[in-house]
């Protein structure tokens, strides 16, 4: 059985890097935290590219367009272009256009970034922005529904409220209406200890009210990897997934047959990884990383040599 949870050090780092052609990085907790880059992260990414590796960014965060991600990446010193970035706003739009072949509008609980990415593929939306509740209960069951809406899409939305939940429920009462969620992350990473509910909670509220399950685009669903792999012809056996969350990044890596590296600058701990490893439960074993580092900066010496 292949070893797991190996601490990367010395020659193993070089071995690992030589064995892969592409490296996929999660963002929050891996290359940056909030608006600050992790020390050494920009050098790692830039050197990987110089070494001839392809580098992609895979993030469940649905609040930025690819353009916005590139702006942030470049501001923090990372060499990147739009084609390198795969966020759930972009991937949801790709899914609706290319897979679902949606012919109609989306009722969107989400951000302007999601609206923008949908617009970029020619899909109109309704719903973005504040939606204050008015009237009484029976009015809400009778709200006018746009007959062109063929899908309900749920991403992160700071304007989420009962009215939006209600509208989604009314649209989803039609079984033909598609139901897509960007991701199931339960909390947003936030500095200062305050826990902010993530998209997963909003999605759960809609799923419960509608008694339907959404199709989820983000990690650990394979769709995001397929998005990248499809466009760039990646070989899973020669691809490394680097992340900070065992239940999204590492699980995606396992599900897609990638090598996986857990970095400890984010959500999950080494103890979490070891607990999954000892659990004996097949689902949990998928969350055990091949390798562990304290920070991706540990890759630097091997890259600089």
């Amino acid at each position: 059985m292949a070893s797991k949870c190996r601490r990367l050090s010395g020659p193993i780092i070089r071995e690992l890097l030589d064995s892969v052609e592409s490296v996929l990085f999660d963002c929050d907790g891996v290359i940056w935290r909030g608006d600050e880059a992790i020390t050494g992260a920009a050098d790692v990414i830039n050197l990987l590219k110089q070494n001839g590796k392809r580098v992609f960014f895979l993030t469940n965060n649905s609040t930025k367009t690819r353009r916005m991600y590139v702006d942030k990446l470049r501001k923090l010193g990372f060499n990147a272009s739009e084609e390198d970035v795969f966020g759930t706003a972009f991937c949801s739009a790709v899914y609706l256009k290319s897979e679902a072949k949606l012919n109609g509008k989306v009722y969107l609980i989400g951000s302007n970034a999601m609206k923008q990415e949908l617009q970029n593929v020619g899909i109109p939306q309704v719903g973005v922005g504040p939606d204050p509740i008015t009237g009484v209960q029976i009015d809400w069951a009778n709200i006018p529904l746009d007959p062109e809406v063929k899908a309900v899409v749920v991403g992160f939305d700071e304007h989420f409220n009962y009215m939006k939940l209600n509208r989604a429920l009314q649209y989803l009462s039609n079984p033909e209406c598609l139901f897509v969620g960007t991701n199931t992350d339960t909390r947003l990473p936030l500095e200062g200890g305050k826990a902010v509910p993530g998209t997963g909670c909003l999605l759960k509220a809609v799923e419960t009210a509608a008694q339907r399950q959404a199709l989820v685009i983000g990690k650990p669903s394979k769709f995001m990897f397929d998005c990248v792999a499809h466009q760039y012809g990646l070989d899973p056996a020669k691809t490394l997934m680097v992340g900070d969350r065992l239940d999204t990044d590492i699980l995606l890596g396992s599900n897609c047959g990638l090598k996986t590296l857990l970095t400890l600058t984010g959500v999950s701990t080494a103890a979490d990884a070891e607990a999954h490893q000892c659990s004996g439960c097949p689902v949990r074993l998928g969350m055990v990383p091949d390798y562990i580092v304290e920070s991706i900066a540990e890759l630097l010496p091997a890259l600089q040599a």
Binding site: M163, C201, K204, A205, T208, Q211
Partner: protein
Amino acid sequence: MAGAGRGCQKIRGSQIQDVLDTKHSILFDCDGVIWNGEKAVAGATEVVSLLKKQGKNVFFVTNNCTRPRDIYVQKFSRLGFTDVAQEEIFSSAYCSAVYLRDVAKVQGKVFVIGGHGVYKELREAGVPFVEGEADDPDMTIVNCPLDSDIKAVLVGYDDKLTFLKLAKACCYLQNPDCLFLATDPDPWHPLREGRVTPGSGSLTAALETATGRKATVIGKPSRFMFECIASQFGVDPAESLMVGDRLETDILFGVNCGMDTILTLTGVSTLGEAQAYKDDQAPEKKVYVPDYVVDTIADLLPVIEDDE
């Protein structure tokens, strides 16, 4: 009555009499059982009056947390149920207040995601609480003040729900000593003409997902509302009957409390759904199977009248 292969027995006439003879207490759900919206189910007022005349205890057990009990009394009266007293009404808002005051004995304030019904019951029970009031539009979870005296979060139906309320509740629940209560688990509530509206259960699910914690649920199918009734009125489940319209709420509640159950078909669940549970091989589905089925509670009427 209980046992393998039992259940879903359509009853009329003397069969109903046999069942009623052994019962001292009849518990009715409200929405879809005795009324639909603002209209009493035909015959329902007569059923309630005659059961009381026969000396039965009659209680009303509802998950609807939007009204305080005194407003319910007004509704009963308005719809022609002229002999229903406040003490006979057990709503999830009232029972949540009782739980916080008498069971949890909460020392501190309750953060409420809910509405007028819950606020009034908490006030009447003397339980201090914080309304998730309408916030300053510039307020975000990053800059909003948090109350340091919150010892419990209670979540129920709230049409004024906002993201900020959810976020605040999430922060309070990070403290493992802060209680987490939900008025009821209903994912959606029925309105007129087959329409639906998001229920307390969907808001609770959001908070459970955010916090990784499970709420203590007050309403059906949890036993607590029955325990409330039993502690105030000395009711024996073996001599009690639960009449409801929702299999996953009312019937499961009856089973959980050891009562016989009647499904009435004037509300949410259908005979087909009840039969499906009955025919299901999985043993865990048996808890949703009603002992008896009536088309409407008016079917209890001719029998009772014969008895006079």
